[in-house]
Symmetry: C2
Subunit: 553 residues, 2 copies
Amino acid sequence: MEQKDKLQIIPLGGLGEIGKNMTVFQYGDDIVILDAGLAFPEDDMLGIDLVIPDMSYLIDNQDKVRAVVLTHGHEDHIGALSYLLREIDVPVYGTRLALGLVEGRLKENRLSGHTLIPVKPGDEIAIGGLLVGFIQGSHSIPDSCGIYITTPVGTVVHTGDFKIDQTPVDGKLIDIHKFAELGNKGVLVLMSDSTNAERPGFTGSEREVAIAFDEEFKQAKGRIVIATFASNVSRIQQAMYTACKYNRKVVVLGRSMVNVVNVATELGYLQLPEGTLIETEEMKRYRDDQLLILTTGSQGEPMAGLSRMASNTHRSVSISAGDTVLIAATPIPGNETSVSKIIDSLFRLGAHVVYEKGSGMHVSGHASQEELKLMLNLVRPKFFIPVHGEYRMLKKHGKIAEDLGVPQENIFLGSNGDVFEFTKDTGRVAGKVKAGRVFVDGLGVGDVGNIVIRDRQQLSKEGIIVVVVTLDKQSGTMLSGPDLVSRGFVYVRDSSELMQEAQAKVRIALEHCEANKISDWSSIKVKVREVLGKFLFEKTRRRPMIIPIIMEV
Amino acid sequence: MEQKDKLQIIPLGGLGEIGKNMTVFQYGDDIVILDAGLAFPEDDMLGIDLVIPDMSYLIDNQDKVRAVVLTHGHEDHIGALSYLLREIDVPVYGTRLALGLVEGRLKENRLSGHTLIPVKPGDEIAIGGLLVGFIQGSHSIPDSCGIYITTPVGTVVHTGDFKIDQTPVDGKLIDIHKFAELGNKGVLVLMSDSTNAERPGFTGSEREVAIAFDEEFKQAKGRIVIATFASNVSRIQQAMYTACKYNRKVVVLGRSMVNVVNVATELGYLQLPEGTLIETEEMKRYRDDQLLILTTGSQGEPMAGLSRMASNTHRSVSISAGDTVLIAATPIPGNETSVSKIIDSLFRLGAHVVYEKGSGMHVSGHASQEELKLMLNLVRPKFFIPVHGEYRMLKKHGKIAEDLGVPQENIFLGSNGDVFEFTKDTGRVAGKVKAGRVFVDGLGVGDVGNIVIRDRQQLSKEGIIVVVVTLDKQSGTMLSGPDLVSRGFVYVRDSSELMQEAQAKVRIALEHCEANKISDWSSIKVKVREVLGKFLFEKTRRRPMIIPIIMEV
C-alpha cells in the first residue's frame, strides 16, 4: 500500500450517510486527514449523544498521520476532532473561524497544547509529499473552503460543503476561477458534495433569508424571536443587520449560540454596530418593539432556547400574544414532530409564528443539480467520487456526472472504508479498511455498542422484571424470595394481582427445580425466564426483559 | 346538563391533534357518538401500540348512549371502536365498507354479537331525539360521509374527512347539493376537517395518482411494486386498473392490505376483471413485466412488506435491478427517517424507486384552503368549530371562517373534553369533561401510564443497574452480595473494572450502614442509590436507573 506512484483516498465517514465527514488521503508514507466530523444519533440509537467515525485505521497508522485539514467549522466536519486529537496529536489546519470553533470544543473536552494553524483561502501548504491548497468556497458559514491536494500522481479536488452563492452575505464569492484553473491544468479526482443532488435547479442565495426577515421586521409590533442553527453564522449576521435597520437591540440566548457569536465576533466574522448586542438583564430597559432575541432550538431540541420558550420554562423569556417567532431553519429529517409540537405551543401562546417552506425563512447551504453540473464542468475530473450523502444522493450525483461525460467506470459510488487507489492513469477500489460508527454516550467513547443498544431497545419497549431469590448454598432450598421488581412494564399499583400471580408461577417453578435437584444456576435461570415469560406474554402480549438473580448464603 | 333546549357537543379526540377522532352529541338524555378512532403513538410513547381516547365520560353516562355513527372506515375513525364496544354495547351505523372493516377489527379483538347497521349516503336515522343524516363525501376511501344531526335546537353539520374531488375514482361526487340545501335551511354549527387548513389552493384529485402510475407502467420493463396505505382503497383500485391496462397480474402482500382488499372486493368496492388477482405462489408462472405487487409499508414500518423487501428478508419477493418501486404515499411526520432508509436500501438493490413530492405518487385526501372556504360558504353556519387538526391548523381554519364572515365570537378553538353548549341562538363553552389519551400496549388498555412511560424513557437512555444484597434478618449483617447486574448501561465484558469499582463502592456504603446500625430498608436503598449514582455519573456522565433489592434470611 505504500508505493510512491499511488495515491489512496479512504473515506472514513460521509459516504452513504449525512454527517461525520472524514476522508484520508495517503501518498507514500504521508497521511493527511480532511475533516473529522460527527453525526447526530438516529432514532434507534437510544441514549447516544453523538456518533463519530471509527478511527482504527488512523490509530493503526498514526506514525504516518501528518495533519488534519478542515474545510469549515460545522460540527459534521469538526465535531470528532477532539476524539481524534486525544488519540493522535497532529497539527490542524483551517481558517480562523473554523479553528476558533474548534478551540471551544477542545476546551470543553479539556484538551490543550494542540497545534492549530490558521490558513486563508488561497494558501498552499506542503504536508509531507502532499501539497494542500485552500479555495474560497461558499456555504452557510463564512470562510468555508474547497480543498485541492496535489501529489506526483495528480490533483484531487474536494469541494467541501458548498453552493454557488452569487451574492454571499460576507461578499466573498466562491473562487470559481480557481476551480476553473485547476480544471484547465487537469484534475485526477473530484470529490463533490451530494447533499442536494436530488434537487433540480439552483439553491437560493443565503441573502434571500434577509429579504424574508425584512418583511417580518417591517410588520412586527412586538418582540421578534429568531431561532436558527447556532452554526449558521451568515444567517445570524443577517438577523443582526436587520435588527440594526429596524432599531432593535439583539439578545443572544442559548449556550451554543452565545459561543458561536462570541467566537465569530472576536475574529471579525460578525460585524455589528457598537451597542447592538445587549445582555439578557438589559432587556427590560427596552420596549418589545426594540428587541430581537436570537436563540437556538430550531430543530425542536428539548433543552434549547425555543423549546423552553414554547413550554414557558425559559429563564428570561416567556412568549405571549404580540410576539413574532421566526423559525429560520427547516427540520432535519427525524425532527419534524418535535418542531411541529413547538410551533403548536407557540401558536397556543398567541405568537405569530413564521415557519416552513414558502416562508423564505430558510435556504439550503448545499448546491443543487445545476450547481453540481457547473462544478463538474469547471473541474473536468478524470475520476469522480460523489461524497457527503446517502446512497441515493451519491447515485444521483454519479448519474449527473455520467450525463456530463464522465465515463461510468470512472465514477465510484463507495462506502466508508473503501480504499480508492489512483495512479496517473488508473483508478480502482483496492480494498477496504475498518470503518463504521462509534457511539459517544456521556464520557464513554465506544463502550456502548450494538448489544447495549439492543438491550436499551428492549427495555424501552417492554420494560424489565427482576426476579431475585436467595438459596441455601448446601441444600439449594429457597431461603428468601422469589421477589419480583419491575420497571417500565406495568403500573404496579394497579396490577398487583398480575404481579402476585407471576410471583406464584415463579415460586412453583423454583420449587419444581428444588424437588428435582436442579441446582445449577443457569438451568434455574432458564426455567424462571421461560415460565415467567410465557405467563406474562399470555396475560399481556408483552415480552419484558427478565433478569433472574440468584443469591446464595 | 340535561335540559331539553340545549345541544351539547363534546369532542373526545381530534382537537389539537391528528387522529383518534371522536365526538359526543348530547341532546336531552340521548347521546350519539360520531366516530371512535385511534392515534398512532408519538416517538416518546415507548412501547405503546396505539392510543385511544379516554372514554370515561361515556362510561359514566352509558345509560344515555344510543349509537355510534361512523363517517368512514379509516383507523383514525374506527380504530377505538372495539375498546368502546367492550365497555358499552350500542348499535353502530356506517356505510357497508366502513362496517366491513369494523367487522374485521372486532373479530381480531374476539368481539361478537354487536349490532352493525349499514346505511347509505342520503339515509336519515332517528336516534333518540336526534335525527342523523348521511351525506356522500369524498376522501381516499369510498363511501366516506359527512354527517348532519338535527335537533329541535338546530342542525349541526360535521364534514368528516373530506376533500372536494371533482373526479373521484368511484365516480361518486361529494353531495355539494345537500350541503347547499342544509345551508339554505340554516345550520347552527359546522364542524369541518382542518388537516390541510395550512395549505393554500385546492387539493388534487385522487385520480392524478393514476396518471403518475400510468407513466411509470408505460416505461417499466421489470416487476412493479406499489407500496401504499392499506386503507386507501381508491388508490388500490387505481393501481389495479393500471395493472389491467398493461396486462399485469396483481399480487397483494401484507396482512392489512390483504384484509382491506378482501373486504372491499367482497362488498363490491373494488372492481377488477376475473383473473387479475393471483396468489403469491403463482408469481413464478409470469414474467417480471407481467406482475404488479401491491404491498404495505409506505410509512417505513419495520415489519411491513416494503421494509422486508428492502432488507431482503421478505418471504416471497426479493428486489433486484430492473424492478420499479412506487411509493404511493408521503411520510407522515415522524416517519421520514425510516422511509428514507428504505428508499436508500432499495436504491442499493438497484431498483428504480419513485417517491416523494413532485413524483405525483400521492395526493392528500383532505381539503385545502379553497375547498374549506367553499364548504363554509355552502353551509353558512352560525357557529363554527374547526376539528381534526393540531392547534395551529384549527387556528388557521378559524381565521379562514372569520375572513368569510363568521363572527369571531362564534368560532370555537377547543380542546378535547370541552363541552360546547348550544341553544337556538347561543353557543358557549359550558364546561369540561375528562378527556385525554389512553395507551394500548399489547392486551393492556390503560395499564401503561405516564409513570411507566417515564421509566421506559430513562431505561432507554441510560439502562439499569440492579444491586442485590442478602442481609441477616436478626443482625443486619451482609450474608451475600452486593451483586450488580446491568443492562443497557455499558458493555460489561469491556467494563469489568468499572463494575468492580462500583461494587466496591456499594459494599463500603453497606458496611457503613451496618456499622452505624442503619437497618431500615429505605435508608439503605437511598444510600446505595446515592453512592452508586454519584460514582457512575463521575465516571461516565450517565445516570442509569438504580434498583437496590434487599433480601432477608
